[in-house]
């Protein structure tokens, strides 16, 4: 696992931000892990980015808090974060990874409609983070592989962002590219 201090700082701040309901800070913290995830292709960094983003979404959506399953699920997430923090401080990377995995597994154990909502939020968090990593310059297939999502999902999401509109992305005169296409398809 790369950049332990950075992840530790992110998790500590996330825990505080969750308590304060500071969704904006949580999104910023999630984005910070994307930089590391893009460089190192490290699944723990990616898992942290996804979980922090997922937390920002579920904290933001107050209607989820009304479900009777909410308090247990929320407490599980907070406990998971605490275990992740303690494990990281002790350099126990195995326990750190398993604590992140446990948060994900807990989603499958929630009963009722809340499970479907949270599962959906988790999936969308993965796609959102994938799109950010692709935006950082990692290829679409490589990114999909890192996040364990389908390239179809990533393509659809990335297409709705402005990634293709970045000026640096224009690498050839459009007339020249059409000429190539005409010649090859002639």
């Amino acid at each position: 696992m790369q950049e332990k201090e950075n992840i530790l700082d992110i998790l500590l701040k996330t825990k505080q931000a969750v308590k304060e309901g500071n969704v904006v800070l949580m999104r910023e913290l999630s984005n910070r892990t994307v930089h590391s995830a893009s460089i190192y292709g490290d699944t723990d960094n990616i898992a942290v980015a996804v979980i922090v983003y997922m937390l920002s979404k579920i904290v933001e959506r107050k209607k989820y808090h009304e479900y009777k399953e909410w308090p247990v699920f929320f407490q599980t997430c907070m406990n998971g974060l605490s275990i992740a923090i303690t494990s990281l401080k002790k350099d126990d990377t195995e326990k750190f990874s398993s604590s992140l995995e446990e948060i994900r597994k807990r989603v499958g154990k929630i009963s009722g409609n809340l499970r479907n909502y949270i599962k959906d939020v988790f999936r969308k968090a993965e796609i959102n983070k994938a799109s950010r990593i692709y935006e950082h310059g990692i290829s679409m297939q490589k990114t999909a592989e890192l996040l364990g999502i389908s390239i179809f999902e990533l393509a659809e999401y990335a297409g709705s962002t402005g990634i293709g509109d970045v000026n640096l992305s224009i690498t050839k005169d459009i007339g020249e590219r059409i000429k190539i296409a005409k010649e090859i398809l002639a």
Binding site: G41, K142, L154, I174, I180, A181, I184, L185
Partner: protein, 225 residues
Amino acid sequence: MNLIIMDSSSIISLAMNSLLYLLKKMKKPSVKFVITGDVKKEVVEVPLHIKKYGLEALMIQQLLSEGILEMPEAIKINPAEIAIERQKLMDTANHTFNARGEWIRIISNGEASCMALAKLAEERNFNVAVMVDERTTRMLCEMPKNLRAILESKLHTSVHAEERNFKFFSGLKIIRSSELSYIAYKKGLVGISDGKQLVDALLYAVKFKGCAISSQEIEQIKKLG
């Protein structure tokens, strides 16, 4: 023989817009559309098990059955040969940009296999273009310095580029599903009569399904008529 090697991203843009029929209409004895085994895995084998994308996977599989899309064996290029070249290219690409002392792994098997097949086909004197809608591979081949600039600006850290690697990727001809759609439009193959709005609709459709084309480029194409 003209060969268009299709990356997953370009097939996906067409499939998700129900535009795969354009490949049927544009296929000729002198033009072959080819995909690698890695790409087949990404656009057929994996999505066949995802309910949301199963239909697209089946439609692509159908094109393979009909011989509209072909595998490298059709041009007598052995998958084992592609795998060797793919590994070389992937290792080189993934040792080209370095940040914080770490090589950034920018591409995976699918993209590398397309470039590998293109190189092998060029050696056999095919006239080759790679159709790739995703941005990173295209930038690596055409303007790697810009890719370094994007990595640097997004990662907020300095990125070193191993510039001697650039030559391994340069020279490949790259097109996107947007150019294919435009040519299809020009040839009257789309089958929709409202020409004025059609080119705009086609190009934005592929853009919104992941084709990395800018709105500025789309406006330039529209001016071409």
